[in-house]
């Protein structure tokens, strides 16, 4: 009799511990219902993200808009080719560059355009100018649902990114999957664990006191489990971005989001 009670109790406890909408066997679409990190913010922070004047991320959007429209002498401005803007473009990134077959994230695409079409040098990762252009382009798609393509040449990159997500790493020996799939919605000290989507990036992270890229956030995640972070712009991280955005397909872009 006590065995049965113990078993029932164990089942109740286990089901209480796993998020109700996580689909353990679906590696590609692990959630019944996608939840943006926005939902886990305090009302004041949500209001700040929604305020298109005082959201500090817009300081970089403004800078990006200026850079986008600026030509220098014979150098064409971004706007001269993209005269009708880039609404919706960011929703399909990372994407394969047809000319080289490379998988590029937004930052990579911007730098490739600069070198290929403008005869300008690539911008440094996390530089104010690259962040500005990236968040400007992403912001043009604010409200547009993510829809990345994981077929064709992107398939190998997608598989690589997914592998990274499921691999345990670091001194804590944790994989992204363990926190952001299996324990999404559960508490970690005072925080609620998010589903780990990148739909708000580049984002103004309060912890950084500035705007930063998704790869900067991923580096913080690696450091968080005491794993050696990879370098910014690393191909593995670009592959991971593809997996993350595919996993979040349907979630609206919020750039520049405010995050904790």
């Amino acid at each position: 009799m006590t065995n049965k009670i113990a078993w029932v109790l164990a089942m109740v406890l286990v089901s209480a511990c796993t998020p109700a909408d996580h689909r353990e066997n679906n590696l590609d679409a692990p959630f019944e219902r996608l939840q943006s990190g926005y939902d886990l913010l305090t009302p004041e922070t949500q209001a700040l993200q929604d305020d298109t004047f005082s959201n500090p991320g817009y300081l970089w959007v403004d800078r990006g808009a200026a850079l986008f429209g600026a030509g220098h002498g014979y150098t064409p401005s971004c706007a001269s080719c993209h005269a009708s803007g880039l609404i919706g473009a960011a929703a399909s990134y990372p994407a394969i560059d047809t000319a080289t077959g490379q998988l590029l994230n937004l930052e990579g695409r911007i730098n490739t355009c600069r070198e290929r079409h403008q005869n300008l040098p690539a911008l440094e990762h996390e530089s104010d100018d690259l962040l500005a252009l990236t968040v400007y382009v992403a912001n043009q798609s604010r409200g547009v649902p993510l829809s990345v393509d994981t077929g064709g040449a992107a398939a190998a990159h997608y598989a690589n990114g997914r592998d990274y997500f499921f691999t345990r790493r670091g001194q804590f020996n944790l994989s992204c999957h363990q926190c952001h799939d299996q324990n999404a919605g559960m508490r970690l000290r005072g925080d609620t664990i998010s589903q780990g989507h990148g739909n708000g990036f580049p984002a103004y992270r309060l912890e950084w006191q500035t705007l930063g890229s998704l790869q900067r956030r991923i580096r913080d995640c690696d450091t968080g489990v005491r794993a050696e972070p990879l370098s910014l712009g690393n191909q593995t991280y670009v592959d991971l971005e593809l997996y993350l955005n595919a996993r979040a397909n349907g979630l609206e872009i919020e750039s520049p989001a405010i995050r904790r």
Partner: protein
Amino acid sequence: MASIRLSVPPTAKRGDVIELKALIQHPMESGYRRGSRGEAIPRNIITRFECLYDGERVFAADFQPGIAADPFLTFHTRATQSGMLVFRWTDEHGESWQETAMLMVT
């Protein structure tokens, strides 16, 4: 070049109290943070903000490191006559940034 955003109503009725907002990009380095190798990051903050309305100071703020990065202010002034509003930030090394906006008062 620090990004600046200003919110100023384009027009106002004489005697109305209007709301002004000013946001500037600045790290407001407190001087208490450490870098990744444990090195102290030197203090570097904006210490003074002023708003001038037709040359007369209508609002000012003296910042300490307790003001958050990318300092943001909302304040008010009474619309008296049409004129230029000057928003000026000065840091502790004497460097300053300035933006202006025209206010039409009817």
